[in-house]
């Protein structure tokens, strides 16, 4: 090993006695290179221990870095304890990885909902995916717009230059609620996902509800009310089992006269918490109270119960996002996409108990 400095394409070209441009052609896999020349270049590269064209220099010329940002609102720990977020990103990488495009994590921290500008500004980005939160009033958005970085948002509120991928949250929840109504339920409470990421928890006032930050949360609440009219909302601080349990313990307080006969949680994770609360309060499900969720994720520790829920094709949603990114990278403007959901009736909903 006598090399003083890391070899570059020029070094390789010189050693192979071809022009740099020809060597470049070889590494870009072009057909228009004589096999003999190609072999010579490859041999030179091997001898020099050349690792291939520097991605950064390549990016500068080709205006493509192979990096797509993933905005995941919160700390990794929170975002990735949400199976929906993970499945979604899994779908995205499934499509993007084979193209040599990687996902760059852009988490926020305890206080912030998104990445700081300092984080964004220094990092190459061919596109950005808002994976778990809409880009609504995100200061980073303006920066990305300036840089002309295309954006795909999941369940977000969108905007003209943002490609949207979502599901019919409202219709799905309405369908679920109709199922409950058909079973005789009239007093239904909703355990809501965070309306904003500020740690608030408790009953939702009209003012707070007017300032809901996330489209899907709003829509899922409306879906219930489409069927039953106004219902009480209980907001959780994060999408976590323990948060659902806290909510459940309050809502299902056995001493309350107007205890709901059914609880609609806005995620399966929260629903799992409500189930736990019911259990700890000595309530039978579904005899004393029905519980339903949203997402249709696999909670391996939930059985023997099967949760009634609205199933959304989360991984497929991720793939659709991945394809949208692919289109964007190719300079095309894909249409927004709305995937479908369906009701899955499990063992956690049943006839409303007689008053």
């Amino acid at each position: 090993m006598s090399d003083r400095t890391r070899p570059t394409l020029a070094t390789v070209a010189a050693r192979a006695e071809v022009a740099p441009s020809t060597a470049s052609l070889v590494f870009s896999g072009s057909e228009r290179v004589a096999p003999a020349t190609r072999d010579r270049v490859l041999a030179a590269a091997a001898e020099l221990g050349y690792a291939g064209p520097d991605p950064v220099a390549r990016s500068l010329r080709s205006r493509r870095s192979g990096v797509v940002g993933a905005v995941i609102g919160e700390r990794l720990t929170y975002a990735f304890s949400d199976p929906v977020a993970v499945q979604l990103l899994d779908g995205v990488t499934e499509v993007l990885s084979p193209l040599g495009v990687g996902l760059l994590l852009l988490p926020g921290d305890a206080d912030r909902h998104g990445p700081t500008l300092a984080q964004l500004a220094h990092v190459p980005l061919d596109a950005v995916v808002y994976a778990t939160c809409g880009p609504e009033d995100d200061p980073a958005l303006e920066h990305l717009r300036r840089r002309e970085v295309p954006i795909v948002a999941v369940d977000g509120p969108g905007g003209d230059d943002v490609v949207l991928v979502g599901v019919p949250d409202r219709r799905g929840t309405a369908e679920l609620t109709r199922h409950l109504a058909d079973l005789g339920h009239r007093r239904v409470a909703v355990v809501a996902l965070p309306l904003r990421l500020d740690g608030t928890r408790g009953p939702v006032t009209a003012e707070r509800r007017a300032r809901v930050h996330f489209r899907d949360v709003r829509e899922r609440a409306l879906g219930v009310e489409d069927v039953l009219g106004p219902v009480p909302l209980w907001e959780t601080a994060t999408n976590a089992v323990e948060e659902g349990a806290r909510a459940g313990r309050v809502l299902l307080d056995v001493s309350a006269a107007d205890r709901p006969t059914a609880v609609v949680a806005q995620s399966d994770i929260l629903a799992a918490g409500v189930l736990r609360a019911a259990e700890s309060l000595g309530l039978r499900v579904p005899e004393d109270v029905s519980v339903a969720g949203f997402d249709g994720v696999d909670l391996p520790w939930l059985p023997p119960v099967r949760l009634t829920t609205v199933v959304q094709p989360t991984t497929e949603k991720g793939r659709v996002v991945g394809r949208a990114v692919t289109e964007l990278l190719a300079g095309r403007r894909p249409a927004d996409a709305v995937l479908d959901v369906h009701l899955s009736v499990g063992t956690t909903t049943g006839p409303a108990p007689r008053a």
Copy 2:
């Protein structure tokens, strides 16, 4: 908006009537710029809608891309259903994010243990973290070496040019095993994490054991044997609750004469599965069988049981990795680090039942 083309630093400099190098100084936050000049440049930038220096061009010059790769062996869904992996990466980002460095996910897919070269080769990388698997015989390794990308490996086998961060897996497991031995346990079975990522599951033969791919798996097995001598190992296909349950159902088969009185699982996730299996087999824990894990992760759905386990400081491990990366980026060569673990005795281990 009359701009035909995205503004560059040169455009901004021209408009502010300064040299490009001066404008560059402004954006790099240098002190050696007259406030008046700075304001003029900033004003010009604002007027032109300049988003700041192009990260790619900047990277080319400064030889730093702000991107650190995270190799996570498997599909996102598998890797991120492991709380240990998530906490670890959380710790890493906690240190790296404030530095404007982002984590690029480098998952494998169903068959592969690591990213393909096509994925790696096109992407800028200041460093790489092997987060959930050692770089042992990884073909990507040679590529990274050529590119002179520094590597930090967690619990990995290492190599001269790889910085290692780990915990005393062997000693920790030995301590746990001594606790069991003190309780009178002699017939102990181990539910092992995957020895290699090839979907194998079942009793571990000597040949297979000789080819174990992951250092921590080997060490944790040895820790048990340090105390009790050779014990049967049951390999799982992935680190998942259901896998632990499958293993548990076989190992705890009530009809077997030599049913173990204690099961040591190599992760808390697997231990949770074993607990489930015990329950479904009608065995009481710890009266009929003791169960222990490794990691000390918070499984919010596990209570009321408290798992006996070896607690490792996973998030701190991530921070240490982050700091090691920081050092490496600064051109220094940090020392390997071994963090500490401790035994946490819960309610799942007790005296061995009388034969």
